[in-house]
Symmetry: C2
Subunit: 527 residues, 2 copies
């Protein structure tokens, strides 16, 4: 059986599939050719039906025990694995990413589903708190007060083009929303509808296998923005997870903020991820840093939210050496096709715009190649130019980076102050750089969600301590992370129960603790 | 020394005081007369200066240990207590609330400052998480990843008129923001500028006594909305705490959402706090419930966010008995002046508007009284009228409530579905009501932040499990609470540190755990 045999181009509305006369096709990133299977374009009715089912499923799904939800997440992981190579193959055709990368990304996808299953079983994430009654307290008795966190409601998840598995239909937003007890209506990214259908049907099968209400998951798609807008406007939707462009994130945020009932949008948008080469580190290993920088920059053709788009260092021979090493390394990078024609066009536009700015020098360009291959680009400029031209701070999604020369430490600090919010900031440093790094740290803590030393920002570990988020405009909400266990927080809200009879309390708060949750009593841990 | 001797009508900009030629006066709620002391109206320059100082203080204040911040909060509590009766006396003059109530509110205010001090010392709230490096992991090693939460930045706090101590300058928003490591610029409510100055100077003295940077606290005031708008627009401000009207909350939210860098607004706005009298409970104790309802409704002249503005029950003799008891109780309620002339005018307008709606009956009005005394109002209507007329669901701030007769359980459920988001929902029930209550619970969990049984929503315990919040439009952010330890969450954001040398890590994440924080390692508790 080939991948295409499994694809029918259908929308998934709860447990049903639905086809529509208006269709679109996926375009192979590498060849610019239409791939097999015509995919249905969702209508307003499809959005409405999916959201109504999600709303109908919410109360029963959120009442499911953490164990049931954990098993469901694991079942999704199993169903994804059961697809075998069909899933990464189709994803590779649609995205142009390599099979090796996509097999790895599948592991990350199933890994994060299982991480949330473990998190649910540990039970801390529901934050059950009990303040027992104090009937004898003077002057007034205290009531029995109990708090637990419940899902906020159905979630709209927008798949990202650059992670067709780990940040798409069955990706981190979906996993964390389902873990929180929230049904999901996923909007397939039009660049990988086949991958989306495969992943969506895997979730649909998992819903059925686990005996959950069908509205727990639906999948809609189509190339038009109107579908996504209708989804965010639907009154049943209570929060939005989005990874994509700043323009897209702003548009969804504006829609969400002007609903009769405004809802939060967790949009991860854009970041240039400044990398600092501090003097001692640079003098010790300029060549190695140059090569490692290009390896990080060209990973996935630079199509990572955390791609190093800005290098900062104090001018001098060492920086020149770094540049030389980077230029040399860039010449050895084989061009690869970008995810979509429009991403490629935006990349070329961004590079052309940067090239045209006064004071910006082209250090190197990668070779010309196929229709949508990314011509890598390395630029250089002085700090003073950067400070006076906001265009230099714009993200260029793809394998392009700007190396900034600062005359002195003061300029390095000044540029740092001028930066927008970022997902990451990286320091390359040796012990002799500690004082300067210490000066930068308070600034970077205010600017970035993650601060790295002597590494590269690409590669986002899925774990408890990760923050993949950061101050605006890196994301729309710096209080959150979209990777790691903390991602579940986005989709929970606390509810307090005062003097409720045990029979009416949620299981997590009942006297005998039937779920065996970790709970606190008067603020102190207790079981 | 009298209260007025201590008042100079000054703005507090960091450690300085500042006076402006344009002034305004507080109006005594009980007599409608201007009180002593002319208060300076803040200018745009004052806002700018206060915010600049807050921004300058932020890095050093957030780096202060939890112990230092805890001691600071306790010092504020001491300084408030050292004011003796001067504070509740001025507050009573300005607000018309009784000395007994305001002495109690002072206890609540100092109590919540000390609660956050205890919370900081317990150390859980910073959520320190460590995922140690796994250099041997295949296929790729894992970096050392550490996460802690830091303050989001300077906070704008808007004092509420109805809690001149506990929800104003030194109230819950200020306490939780300072606990989170965020400087505060407080905007004094123009209805109690003298109370605000006394509380503000107490905080100013505490800043000095604790040797903290002066920008940790500033106080601005004036009757114009423009001052508040300028504060929310200031680029240094990173979040807003507000308790007040829906109109005010919407206005601040709109300003915050359209800044170049949008920021969260935690606005607690309006709620009618539905109270359900379920059949068995009603048949057992209709008279007692009627009397208790009026006691809750008339507490503080109904000027509580959690005042019971809507009663729901199934029609019949028992409901008639409840109404009779409530009407009788209302006749015994002595009229009291409302907080301000404008609140009183809005109350009268709201009552007149409700009275004019077709199908709405006046059950009882309280007696006429002084210039701004609240004439209590009890209304009745059928469920069908409520479902078709949104005006009936509007909050009337003050001692007014609407009793809804539902023909059957289905109507009770239907009205519940139609409700907007609420701070609270209350069930009066006996064991025989459990099935109906069980049907209502999932709906109420989606509508309210706190669900009570056999009590009244007025009276908000300050504790670990409290949720004083709820779905829109009760608040602008149902993921949060403005009362209880959870209130600190609003002003924290996570930052992740990857492979940072120990010297550059925040103390809370250093290897030897110098702060002795509760931390998790790979998700499991560890010290």
């Amino acid at each position: 059986m080939t991948t295409s045999d499994q694809l029918l181009g259908e929308l998934l509305i709860g447990s049903r599939t639905r086809s529509r006369p208006e269709t679109f096709r996926a375009i192979a990133a590498a060849t610019d050719e239409a791939l097999p299977v015509a995919f249905s374009c969702a209508t307003a009715e499809d959005v409405r039906d999916a959201c109504a089912l999600a709303d109908a499923a919410f109360d029963s799904y959120r009442a499911a025990t953490p164990e049931v939800r954990a098993t469901f997440l694991e079942t999704i992981a199993e169903e994804l694995e059961a697809l075998g190579d069909a899933l990464p193959e189709r994803a590779s055709q649609e995205s142009g990413l390599t099979m090796a990368r996509l097999r790895g990304e599948r592991g990350r996808t199933t890994g994060q589903l299982r991480m949330f299953a473990r998190l649910l079983r540990a039970g801390h994430c529901l934050a059950a708190r009990i303040d027992p009654a104090q009937p004898e307290r003077k002057p007034t008795p205290r009531a029995d007060l109990r708090q637990i966190r419940i899902g906020v409601g159905p979630i709209a998840v927008f798949g990202a083009s650059n992670f067709p598995l780990a940040f798409s239909v069955a990706g981190g937003d979906t996993a964390s929303a389902l873990a929180a007890g929230c049904p999901v209506v996923a909007r397939a990214h039009p660049a990988h509808p086949g991958t989306s259908e495969l992943a969506g049907k895997a979730i649909q099968r998992a819903v059925a296998r686990c005996g959950l209400p069908e509205g727990v998951f639906s999948l809609i798609g189509g190339p038009e923005h109107a579908i996504g807008a209708a989804l965010v406007r639907d009154p049943a939707i209570m929060a939005v997870g989005f990874t994509g462009s700043r323009k897209g994130g702003f548009a969804l945020s504006a829609i969400a903020a002007t609903r009769p009932v405004p809802i939060p949008v967790y949009a991860e948008m854009s970041s240039i991820n400044p990398v600092y080469l501090l003097p001692a580190a640079l003098s010790q290993r300029a060549d190695a840093l140059g090569a490692a920088f290009v390896a990080s920059l060209s990973m996935g053709t630079g199509q990572f939210c955390t791609s190093p788009g800005l290098i900062l260092a104090i001018e001098g021979d060492e920086l020149a050496r770094f540049k030389g090493a980077a230029v040399e390394a860039l010449a050895g990078v084989a061009p690869q096709s970008m995810l979509t024609a429009s991403i490629h066009a935006a990349y070329d536009e961004g590079v052309a715009a940067l090239e045209a700015r006064p004071g910006v020098t082209v250090l190197a360009r990668g070779p010309e190649a196929g229709p949508h291959a990314c011509r890598s680009a390395l630029f250089a400029a002085d700090a003073s130019i950067f400070l006076n031209d906001p265009v230099l701070a714009h993200e260029i999604f793809g394998s392009s980076s700007l190396i900034l020369s600062c005359p002195d430490e003061a300029a390095l600090v000044e540029v740092t102050r001028a930066l927008e919010g970022q997902l990451t900031a990286t320091l390359h440093l040796d012990e002799a750089d500690t004082a300067l790094a210490g000066r930068l740290m308070p600034l970077l803590e205010r600017k970035a969600g993650r601060i790295l030393a002597n590494g590269w920002p690409t590669g986002v570990e899925v774990c408890d301590a990760m923050v993949h988020g950061g101050p605006f405009p890196a994301t729309s909400d710096p209080r959150s992370t979209s990777v790691g266990t903390g991602a579940i927080e986005r989709f929970l809200r606390p509810v307090c129960y005062q003097d409720l009879p045990d029979a009416l309390l949620p299981d997590g708060l009942k006297a005998v603790n039937p779920l065996g949750l970790a709970r606190t009593v008067d603020g102190a841990p207790a079981h």
